[in-house]
C-alpha cells in the first residue's frame, strides 16, 4: 500500500474522516532521521491494509504542523475517528511502530 502525501486541503478528508486508523508521518526533506524511518513505514504499509498511511511535509504544511503541535521530527501520529490517539517523536524501530498501530 502506498503512503499518501496529504496537505491542508485534503487532511480532513484523508485523515480525520478516514474509516481506518491512520498513521501520519510528519517529516521534512532536510531531516536525516525522517529519511531513515520512511522505508520502514513503507515496508509496514505494504503488508497492512487495516491502517492508512499518510505523510505530511511540515515545510509545505506549516499550518498542519502548528495545529498538531509538531515541533520535533520525525513525528508519527496515530489518528482514529478523527482524534489523535498516539504519538512518537524521534527514531523508532519497526517493531515499535507496529505496536503503535496495533499489529
Amino acid at each position: 500500500m502506498k503512503i499518501v502525501e496529504v496537505n491542508q486541503e485534503n487532511f480532513e478528508e484523508e485523515v480525520l474522516k478516514s474509516d481506518k486508523k491512520v498513521l501520519a508521518d510528519f517529516y521534512a526533506d532536510w531531516c536525516g532521521p525522517c529519511k531513515m524511518i520512511r522505508p520502514v513505514i513503507e515496508e509496514i504499509a505494504d503488508n497492512n491494509d487495516a491502517v492508512k498511511f499518510v505523510s505530511v511535509n511540515i515545510e509545505n504544511e506549516e499550518e498542519l504542523a502548528e495545529k498538531y503541535s509538531v515541533s520535533s521530527i520525525p513525528c508519527l501520529v496515530i489518528f482514529e475517528n478523527g482524534e489523535e490517539i498516539k504519538r512518537n517523536v524521534g527514531l523508532i524501530s519497526k517493531n515499535d511502530i507496529e505496536k503503535m498501530i496495533g499489529k
Binding site: 532536510w30 536525516g32 525522517c34 520502514v40 515541533s71 520535533s72 523508532i92
Partner: protein, 302 residues
C-alpha cells in the same frame, strides 16, 4: 551459530560487518532502531577522507547497502544482554537468543539529558536534541542552546539564521568548541551568551514557555523561549553489558587500540569505547580493527 554477532548498525558496526564478511565469516548485525547511528543527524559531512560533502543519510545508506550486498544479515532487535560461557557467546535480544563465536559491541552513544523532571514529556513540545532536524520549527521565534562543545556551538550558529533570538547557555566561562566557531558566533547579532549558568527548571503548560537559569554566583533568572536545544554531550550505550564487561567511570567500555574488552572474544568499536577522538573516521577505523581481531580470535578457536 554465527561466527560474529555485531551489536549496532552505525558506521562502526557496519564497517565491522564489511570486514568480517570479506573474511567469509557468518555475520549477524543486530540493531535496536534503524541503521546509520547518530551520523544520520548530520546534514553535511565535510571531514571524511575523499568525500568533500556527503549527507549523513547518504553515507549511512551507502554503508548499509555495502554491508548487505556483501552478505551480512541485519536484524532489527534490541539486545538486552550478553552471556559468555568460555568460547561460546549468547546474545539475548527482546525477541531471540543468538549464539556466536565472537561479539563486536558497536552500540555508540545517546544524547545526554539535562535530567530535569519534565524534560521527557517536553520532547517534541519545545525540547529538542537535534537542531538541524527541528530548527525550522522556530522561524522568527526565541530559542536557547545549552552546552559548550562543538555541537552546541554549531547548533547556535545554525539556529541564529533561523530564529529571531538565540541564547547560548554554558556552565563555564569558556567554550570547549573550536575557536573559529566561537568567533563566528560572536559575529551574530542575535546570539546572546549566558555563561557560567545552568538550566535549573523548565516552565511549561502544554509546551515549553520559559526556562529558569541559575548562574554560578547564585543569581536566578527566567528566560522566555519557544525552544530549547540540548547539546551537553552524549553518554555511551553500555548498560546492557555492565554485568560482564569492564566500563570506565563515565560508562565507556574499556578497550585498548586493538578494540579488545576484558572478555576474550568480545570486542568494542566506535563511540561506546574509551578513546580520545570520537569521529566518523575513527568509528569506521575501529570497525575494521575489531573485525580483524574477531576474525583472528575465531580462527584460533578452531
Amino acid at each position: 551459530m554465527y561466527d560474529v554477532v555485531i551489536i549496532g548498525a552505525g558506521p562502526a558496526g557496519l564497517t565491522a560487518a564489511i570486514y568480517t564478511r570479506r573474511a567469509a565469516k557468518k555475520v549477524l548485525v543486530l540493531e535496536a532502531k534503524v541503521y546509520g547511528g547518530q551520523i544520520v543527524n548530520t546534514l553535511d559531512i565535510e571531514n571524511y577522507p575523499a568525500e568533500e560533502h556527503i549527507s549523513g543519510y547518504d553515507f549511512a545508506t551507502k554503508l548499509y547497502n555495502q554491508a548487505k550486498n556483501l552478505g551480512a544479515e541485519i536484524v532489527f532487535e534490541k539486545v538486552i544482554s550478553i552471556e559468555a560461557n568460555g568460547k561460546q557467546k549468547k546474545i539475548i535480544t527482546t525477541d531471540n537468543v543468538y549464539e556466536a563465536g565472537s561479539v563486536i559491541i558497536a552500540t555508540g552513544s545517546e544524547n545526554r539529558k539535562l535530567g530535569l523532571p519534565n524534560e521527557d514529556q517536553l520532547v517534541g513540545k519545545g525540547i529538542s536534541y537535534c537542531a538541524t532536524c527541528d530548527g525550522a520549527f522556530y522561524k522568527n521565534k526565541k530559542v536557547a542552546v545549552v552546552g559548550g562543545g562543538n555541537t552546541a556551538l554549531e547548533d547556535a550558529l545554525y539556529l541564529a539564521d533561523v530564529a529571531e533570538k538565540v541564547y547560548l547557555i554554558h556552565r563555564r566561562s569558556e567554550f570547549r568548541g573550536e575557536d573559529s566557531t566561537v568567533s563566528r558566533l560572536k559575529g551574530k547579532e542575535n546570539i546572546q551568551f549566558v555563561l557560567n549558568s545552568n538550566v535549573t527548571k523548565l516552565n511549561a503548560g502544554n509546551k515549553l514557555e520559559s526556562i529558569e537559569v541559575a548562574s554560578t554566583d547564585g543569581k536566578v533568572r527566567t528566560i522566555e523561549i519557544d525552544g530549547l536545544f540540548v547539546a551537553i554531550g552524549r553518554i555511551p550505550e553500555s548498560k546492557a553489558f555492565a554485568n560482564l564487561i569492564k566500563l570506565d567511570d563515565a560508562g565507556y567500555i574499556e578497550a585498548d587500540e586493538k578494540c579488545h574488552t576484558n572478555v576474550d572474544g568480545i570486542f568494542v568499536a566506535g563511540d561506546s569505547r574509551t578513546k580520545d577522538v570520537r569521529q566518523l573516521v575513527t568509528a569506521t577505523s575501529d570497525g575494521a580493527i575489531a573485525a580483524t581481531e574477531a576474525v583472528k580470535y575465531i580462527s584460533n578457536l578452531s
